[in-house]
């Protein structure tokens, strides 16, 4: 078998160490994700989902353990140097784009993800016409608004644009942090479908955190559940395909006290 895309070994992350509020957000996590796997991550609030993503992205450094992405040990490499490997879409729709800059400028910055940026002109004619074509695939009419600032877009439009930016240059791995949670149900459904299409078409290795159990079960080919900084459930393949919400609830009702997880 080919080498895995992501390897987390014995990851420990403690917040507020040696105080009353000490919290083991990651408690000796071991996780291996193969190339092309689409992993959904569920867990109640405070289970460590976002910490997990932040440690993979390098926004947080683990106290112990190692992070290997595509055979490269990145444990001590700062977030901005991991950019060529990873792309990220955040929950907050304003976080993935620069609101005061134009749509085409945002796309240009995304195209240069992880590359050297020099004094060459940014949005060239060539790039502009290519962005116009790519934006058409979103069917949001953004191709006619290239020079408008992103701040004028709706949350759903911004999130669709962020997703497009994340995959403009294919990353080794896509990290999605509850990226539909802030959208209204209709827009959320559109964005998740768009996500699924992009991931499937490109066989993109993906880690998607979600609050929505239905989403976690319906999408992806592997699901893990975090609880108190540990992986409590890890289901893949056939078993994952047959999984229903009721199965999970029946098995883990005692850990699924968080109502948000059961809604929708």
């Amino acid at each position: 078998m080919a080498s895995p895309m992501l390897e987390l070994k014995n990851i420990v992350k403690v917040f507020n160490a040696d105080t009353e509020d000490e919290k083991r957000a990651m408690d000796s996590i071991n996780l291996t994700i193969e190339k092309g796997e689409f992993v959904t991550v569920i867990g109640s609030n405070g289970a460590g989902k976002s910490t997990l993503l932040n440690i993979i992205a390098g926004t947080l450094q683990p106290d112990e353990g190692s992070v290997t992405i595509n055979n490269k040990d990145v444990t001590r490499i700062p977030d901005y140097k991991r950019a060529s490997l990873l792309a990220r879409v955040f929950q907050n729709t304003t976080m993935g784009t620069a609101g005061e800059m134009s749509i085409e400028e945002n796309l240009c910055m995304a195209e240069l993800r992880g590359k050297k940026r020099g004094l060459k002109w940014g949005v060239t004619k060539n790039r502009r016409s290519r962005y116009r074509e790519i934006l058409k695939t979103l069917e949001l009419g953004l191709e006619d608004r290239l020079t408008q600032s992103v701040g004028l877009l709706s949350g759903g439009q911004r999130q669709s644009l962020t997703l497009l930016m994340a995959t403009l240059i294919m990353p080794e791995m896509l990290l999605l942090d509850e990226h539909t949670a802030a959208l209204d149900p209709k827009t959320a459904a559109k964005v998740i479908e768009l996500t699924n299409t992009v991931v499937q078409e490109n066989q993109l290795t993906t880690l998607m955190i979600t609050h929505n159990m239905q989403q976690a079960i319906h999408y992806g080919n592997r699901m893990i559940m975090l609880h108190q900084g540990k992986i409590q459930l890890d289901i893949k393949g056939e078993e994952k395909a047959k999984l229903t919400v009721n199965d999970v609830v029946a098995k883990f009702s005692h850990t699924l006290k968080d109502e948000a997880l059961l809604s929708n």
């Binding site: 140097k81 950019a83 060529s84 620069a98 005061e100 800059m101 400028e105 910055m109 240069l112 600032s149």
Partner: protein
């Protein structure tokens, strides 16, 4: 009354260079950099000392640009690498520059009346001094404005703008935002120092106190400019700043003409900025009240 126009135009353009630098820090990088009150006299000090020692005025002005760039970089270094609050980083740098500027000049004031400066050839022309000097400042400002416009549309320029707009996003796209902040502040203070160097030569002396209140005057210029020209793009922002700087100097000259003492200028400018900043807050407070009343 018309004779306030040439002097306002000259000063407005000369200070527009500083205002462009200030806008770069405050508006593009979203970094409230107070270094400028020190880097402006630094530019004047470096240029004046070198010219006084017999250096070529053009080279002396270039040296001032380099000095300003380094001062700005240092402020950025304090803020990003030592995680010192951005306002405090600027204040620290500004305070240290006061001593440095005195060291550079060797005294508090260097007169440049008898030594040839960048402006000497223009003074020897047959026409009124105003015309070539204003034309010179216009040209320098135009070059700087276009230069910064172009830079902010390059690949790295986009990254610098994004650093001020959404730091986490551009980091996740692979930009070292610490470096971008340091470089951006260096650039900002290079403009400010150039402004100081040229103004020292224009007025015929460099003084250690010539930067006091510059930041407030710069902000006033920016606010006035933005009110006149909506800064929807980088091009419009820099244009607004230049226009704002000229209008600000016109207002000041007019104020002095109707009897405002020069010593009251900083108070008047400060009040102007406070009012401009207060208006949106007061307006939204009023709207809130109206909403509560169901209007």
């Amino acid at each position: 009354m018309l004779n306030i126009v040439p002097i306002s135009l000259e000063q407005g353009l000369a200070y527009a260079l500083a205002a462009i630098g200030i806008a770069l820090a405050f508006r593009i990088l979203s970094f409230p950099d107070l270094t400028v009150d020190g880097s402006f006299p630094l530019g004047g000090a470096v240029a004046a000392r070198l010219i006084f020692e017999g250096a070529n005025p053009v080279l002396a002005s270039l040296a001032a640009i380099v000095a300003g760039f380094l001062a700005g970089c240092l402020t950025g270094f304090f803020a990003t690498k030592f995680k010192i609050n951005s306002l405090l980083s600027g204040i620290l740098m500004m305070t240290m520059l006061y001593s440095i500027n005195l060291r550079v000049m060797g005294r508090a004031n260097i007169p440049l009346i008898t030594t040839p400066t960048i402006f000497t050839p223009m003074e020897n022309m047959e026409i009124s001094r105003d015309i070539p000097v204003i034309a010179f400042f216009f040209l320098v400002v135009l070059l700087c404005k276009i230069g910064i416009d172009l830079f902010l549309h390059t690949e790295y320029g986009l990254a610098v703008r994004a650093t001020g707009d959404n730091e986490q996003m551009i980091r996740s796209l692979g930009v070292n935002t610490d470096a971008a902040t340091i470089f951006g502040l260096g650039l900002s203070n290079a403009f400010v120092a150039l402004s100081g160097a040229l103004i020292a030569q224009d007025q015929g002396f460099s003084d250690v106190g010539m930067g006091i209140g510059l930041i407030v005057a710069g902000l006033a210029s920016i606010i006035i400019g933005e009110a006149l020209i909506k800064p929807k793009t980088v091009f419009r922002l820099t244009l607004a700043v230049v226009v704002g700087s000229i209008v600000y100097r016109l207002i000041i000259a007019f104020g002095m003409r109707i009897g405002l003492a020069p010593t009251d200028l900083k108070l008047a400018t400060g009040v102007m900025v406070v009012i401009a900043l207060a208006v949106p807050a007061l307006r939204s407070a009023k709207e809130k009240k109206m909403k509560l009343r169901g209007v």
